[in-house]
């Protein structure tokens, strides 16, 4: 510690040379409790977990992931499911975001409520609702039978389609909010200009609105994809043995088979895959967009 960095602060009053005018010591003091919490509840536990996966100084656990087709298959199908969930959230979420951005204030609020109410309903409750909706004598089956679409009840729950449907439902708000932010930031004059120059509504949308909403589309897609990679509650309740994902496999290894070192290796693997995608798409990933559009 040298005093040289602090001299500029200790002499004279703070000035508006920049908006950052808390001296280093005070800043460190303000950040210290957060650092302590993060070390105790995040960094230390996660590094212990990673260390356990290399226990005995060997890579045996990792070799197991790649040599047993079942485990490799689970990793690949997790990435596949996350991808499908991100795409379906985009396809269903874009029109909702577009509507929210274009409607008059009162109506836009009503649409926003449809997005925020599920967002703040616990994931557990929404997964439970999907169990109820999709079960053998559930509402969806009753409806299909009543309309004469099927002869007998369909097996809807405990399938991969059920997992994709329920996860799309849970993650769609994370797609809608960044797209909505991007569309709101788009000056309406641009579209008017396009229309004045002779573009029809479709042409104006494709040439102006769509390209300018792409940052939101990317942010939402990456967010959905990354969150889907590590989903536990929904696949555990709605999925079956045939539709195992990484998180459910880790859960099974810890709670049923009690193979902690292998569970640690699977966790390290999932962590690595998640961080890889986060780093790849770092610039498009905007965590704050979703939350701040609440305001």
């Amino acid at each position: 510690m040298t005093n040289s960095t602090q001299t500029s602060y200790s002499s004279g009053r703070p000035t508006l040379s920049s908006a950052r005018f808390y001296p280093p010591a005070a800043s460190l003091g303000l950040a210290a409790p957060l650092l302590a919490a993060l070390i105790a509840g995040f960094l230390y536990p996660v590094s212990r977990l990673v260390a356990l996966s290399f226990s005995g100084g060997s890579l045996d656990h990792f070799r197991r992931i790649f040599t047993e087709p079942l485990h490799l298959g689970v990793l690949l199908s997790t990435i596949e499911v996350a991808f499908v969930v991100a795409i379906s959230s985009l396809v269903l979420g874009f029109p909702v975001a577009y509507l929210m951005a274009r409607l008059r204030k009162g109506l836009a609020m009503a649409v926003a409520a449809c997005v925020f109410i599920p967002l703040w309903t616990s994931v557990l409750i929404r997964s439970y609702a999907w169990v109820v909706l999709l079960q053998r004598n559930g509402i969806v089956n009753e409806l299909l039978l009543g309309m004469g679409v099927t002869e007998g009840p369909l097996k809807l729950i405990y399938t991969q389609s059920a997992v994709i449907l329920a996860m799309t439902h849970v993650l769609m708000p994370f797609m809608i909010l960044p797209i909505y932010s991007a569309l709101r930031a788009l000056p309406p004059d641009y579209i008017r200009a396009a229309r004045n120059l002779g573009a029809g509504p479709v042409r104006a949308f494709v040439a102006v609105t769509l390209p300018l909403s792409l940052p939101g589309v990317f942010a939402g897609s990456v967010m959905c994809f990354v969150l889907a990679l590590g989903f536990y509650i929904t696949p555990a309740l709605v999925g079956g043995p045939g539709s195992m994902l990484m998180a459910t496999l880790i859960g099974q290894q810890t709670t049923v088979l009690l193979d902690w070192p292998f569970a640690a290796a699977l966790s390290t693997m999932l962590l690595a895959v998640t961080l890889l995608f986060v780093l790849l798409f770092r610039r498009t990933l905007s965590l704050s967009k979703g939350l701040n559009s609440v305001h």
């Binding site: 977990l49 004045n196 309740l237």
Partner: protein, 290 residues
């Protein structure tokens, strides 16, 4: 088409635009609006359906899940409020959520001040690290926290949950308070400092009153992040200390009765009330220029 017409088409609401064949055009438009509107209506229904369905489920007279529910009864609410297991889990979760709200809001607001106003060399790294618990899959955090807490006998303990849930809630606080601070004009704080206030006085008299809606919203997010959390709670619960999330997870897996629907309805109502509070707070947001 004349320039005037083109301008009118751009400026008037779309429905009023007049083109060469008005009736056919209007019909096509109406059909288009009907199809698109219907499609979006279906998506909105899809979004709301799972939240709405728990209410009728909780009122069913049968002791298994059936739709449409048969009869109307409040007995599942009385089962929920009289079952010692459900009540123990609810109170345990409430206590943790209240404590988490306090710690996460204070710790997160302090850190947000350091990030926005401070001169820390590792500012961006700290921010990225603080948002880490949002990105890292919760199953990994659950397993990791179990491994760290079990030897210290912190599983199922109030303190163990408090640490875990504070880390999970703090990203919401940092995001929300950072945004509030960035909207607040720093010259006001500098003016207070130059008028002789010390940093604490400047914070409590000038900064805090201006960012209080953001801090309050952050507190609500922290509460919900803790109270609704189930994945990490699943791993760090034990027989002695079980959160409502863990209790619900067990019951959905092994014991699917309308009591879960009653519990869900209570939780949804809590979340919605708090959400309305956030909305109300933000509607009354003071102008930073005042």
């Amino acid at each position: 088409m004349s320039i005037d017409q083109a301008q009118m088409r751009g400026h008037l609401p779309a429905g009023l635009a007049v083109s060469t064949s008005p009736t056919i055009h209007a019909c096509a438009r109406a059909a288009g609006i009907l199809v698109v509107g219907g499609g979006i209506g279906c998506i909105l229904f899809f979004l709301l359906l799972p939240t709405l369905i728990v209410v009728p489920m909780s009122l069913s007279e049968t002791d298994y899940i059936e739709f449409p529910p048969r009869g109307l009864t409040l007995k599942w609410y009385s089962v929920f409020f009289n079952d010692p297991d459900w009540m123990a889990a609810t109170w345990f979760s409430l206590k943790i959520a209240v404590a988490t709200t306090a710690t996460a809001t204070v710790v997160g607001t302090m850190a947000a001040l350091a990030i926005v106003r401070g001169s820390l060399p590792f500012r961006t790294a700290l921010q990225a690290l603080a948002l880490g618990p949002m990105i890292v899959p919760h199953i990994i955090l659950g397993v990791a926290l179990y491994l760290a807490f079990a030897p210290l006998q912190l599983t199922g303990s109030f303190f163990g949950f408090l640490v875990a849930h504070t880390v999970l809630a703090v990203p919401y606080v940092i995001i929300t308070v950072t945004a509030s601070l960035q909207r607040f004009d720093p010259t006001l704080e500098l003016a207070a400092l130059n008028c002789g206030a010390n940093r604490l006085q400047a914070f409590f008299l000038i900064v805090l009153p201006n960012i209080v809606p953001g801090v309050a919203a952050a507190a609500v997010f922290a509460f919900l992040a803790s109270f609704d959390e189930a994945t990490v709670a699943f791993f760090i619960s034990d027989i002695g200390g079980k959160s409502i999330g863990r209790k619900m997870f067990e019951d959905i897996d092994f014991n699917l009765t309308p009591v879960i629907a009653a519990a869900s309805t209570v939780l949804v109502a809590t979340s919605l009330l708090l959400m309305c509070a956030v909305h109300f707070l933000n509607a009354r947001k003071p102008n930073s220029g005042n």
